[in-house]
Assembly symmetry: C2
Homo-oligomer: 343 residues x 2
Amino acid sequence: MKKKYTIAVIPGDGIGKEVTPWARRALEKAAGSVADFDYVEFDLGAERYLRDGAILPDEDLEDIKETDAILLGAVGDPRIKAGILERGLLLKLRFALDQYVNLRPSKLYKGVESPLANPGDIDFVVVREGTEGLYCGSGGAVRVDTPEEVATEVSINTAYGAERVVRYAFDLAMKRRKKVTLVHKKNVLVNAGDMWQRIVDRVAGEYPEVEHDYCHIDAATIYLVSDPGRFDVILTDNLFGDILTDEAGAVVGGVGYSASGCINAANEYPSMFEPIHGSAPDIAGQGKANPTAAILSAAMLLRHLGFDEQAAAIDAAVEADIEELGSTVRSTDQVGRDILDRL
Amino acid sequence: MKKKYTIAVIPGDGIGKEVTPWARRALEKAAGSVADFDYVEFDLGAERYLRDGAILPDEDLEDIKETDAILLGAVGDPRIKAGILERGLLLKLRFALDQYVNLRPSKLYKGVESPLANPGDIDFVVVREGTEGLYCGSGGAVRVDTPEEVATEVSINTAYGAERVVRYAFDLAMKRRKKVTLVHKKNVLVNAGDMWQRIVDRVAGEYPEVEHDYCHIDAATIYLVSDPGRFDVILTDNLFGDILTDEAGAVVGGVGYSASGCINAANEYPSMFEPIHGSAPDIAGQGKANPTAAILSAAMLLRHLGFDEQAAAIDAAVEADIEELGSTVRSTDQVGRDILDRL
Ligand SMILES: CC(C)[C@H](C(=O)O)[C@@H](O)C(=O)O
Ligand SMILES: CC(C)[C@H](C(=O)O)[C@@H](O)C(=O)O
């Protein structure tokens, strides 16, 4: 009998709703014959919030916790004040499900035009910490809207939280080109930076084959433009990871090709897979969003569940599609169909 | 009689020592005939620290306060733990002298090859807040070097501190293409982000001619690669400004062309001018660092003191030099001489 998996599907907002169906179809087509996937769709995001004020009700969160993995589209809507959906839905999921590894591969596919004149071979993975740092929601404000207002944001970093992603990064490097680059700003953020560096140095002792170095976040943004080929595994905190992966997405020809996984590597909770692009309200509803990143998220989901072969099939279909047709203008559905035809 | 100015010169570390003399010579040659410049050199940086443990002694700081402006090279040395010189010297100067506007122009000069395939016209200025945010040095750590370590970094933001740079940015935009883009991460850092946005919206009301928009830091790193021409004045906090200006430096062909001013716009204390590049220990002592950014800092210093014409002369000499010889490999001294010859 085929093993059964329940997949939570959260299309969310804007183009998230247009690309997520294609992720689901790719998942089904690639692996539907080897396992049974049950899809449970959750109505979460801007529409729901505007309709009944709910962002992520406890019952929904409990139901999501019972699933095996999550496919997410995108979250964010211009009608709603910045932060409400992002913190109440997306970040709440990442934190409540302790998705401490935010895994973001960047690869320049053949057939994609990079904005760089000489991009070289680009193929690295960012291991972004997902549950700490400035994303904790710790901070506040006094005397709001007066000339004496003071607003704080607190970055909380723990050895517990850092060490588990450091280990993940070194394990990952062992399967790749065996190089880890810690990115931080330890010459200014001396408390957190020093802790990260000490943990990296200690864990590195257990991985004598893996080379490791360090780079300030500001210098890293330079290297992504001047020499992105130097990176293999980039290890960094929540905020720096957010920034670097968007820049990386641009450098490999647009965030339309970049997928990500919010992973609870200990498997206590479901992991979540999403394109790194946002809800793109400017092009939403026009059927022109590229579903490639969403489809690649489905491959990451399959790999996470142990379906390496099926994940590789999706990756291969995407690579072939991009190489042949990457430079043509196609609708969301056309790209989706073209990729699925190759599966 | 010519007016007298005292200029503090702090070459600092690494290539800072090689490029700063050229900034001083350019300053002297451009404006020595219209004003009297007295140069006071300060022995601060790694060598001094290793010799006698001093980073920025009170007497030196008091002497620096008495000067009219500061020319700084670069600070940082691999022999010294990250943060000691940066926080004890560079940031201490910025904070003690309340240099709240960190002004960083980015321009793609004719003759410079951008790493971008289609850079377009790039000419924007980043107004980076210089005395707040995560740079305050607020934060700490408990249970250091144990599995229970917790390290925090606190970003402190005040309406007082933000409003003065917001006004500076809008004033600057009035002299330029009349567009201000606030960059923050207000969907996550809701306390500080909301405060910045409110102040921008309010101040913008006084500048009806200036258009303003908003961009998340992650999206801004994309635009710097995909469409840098869209920016005129970028307004942002201390950390985001640090990150964006290094990426911008790369995009305009290398941080070797990017100067900056740490400005006390109220003129209560001397302002400081420095290239945005660091001490570059990898190439220090080899006479190959490009002094262009340092020379452009001298122009910013002159403009700050009111010598617009002399500043423009340096800018013009640099532009002509780059256009004609920018792609040739030259030593520090050769570039310095070539630029001075045109002055
Ligand atoms: C929407 C936002 C909260 C989110 C983040 O900052 O993590 C997004 O930018 C991302 O990178 O997934
Ligand atoms: C050296 C460092 C403290 C400094 C900063 O982060 O401000 C530098 O990167 C800069 O941009 O001037």
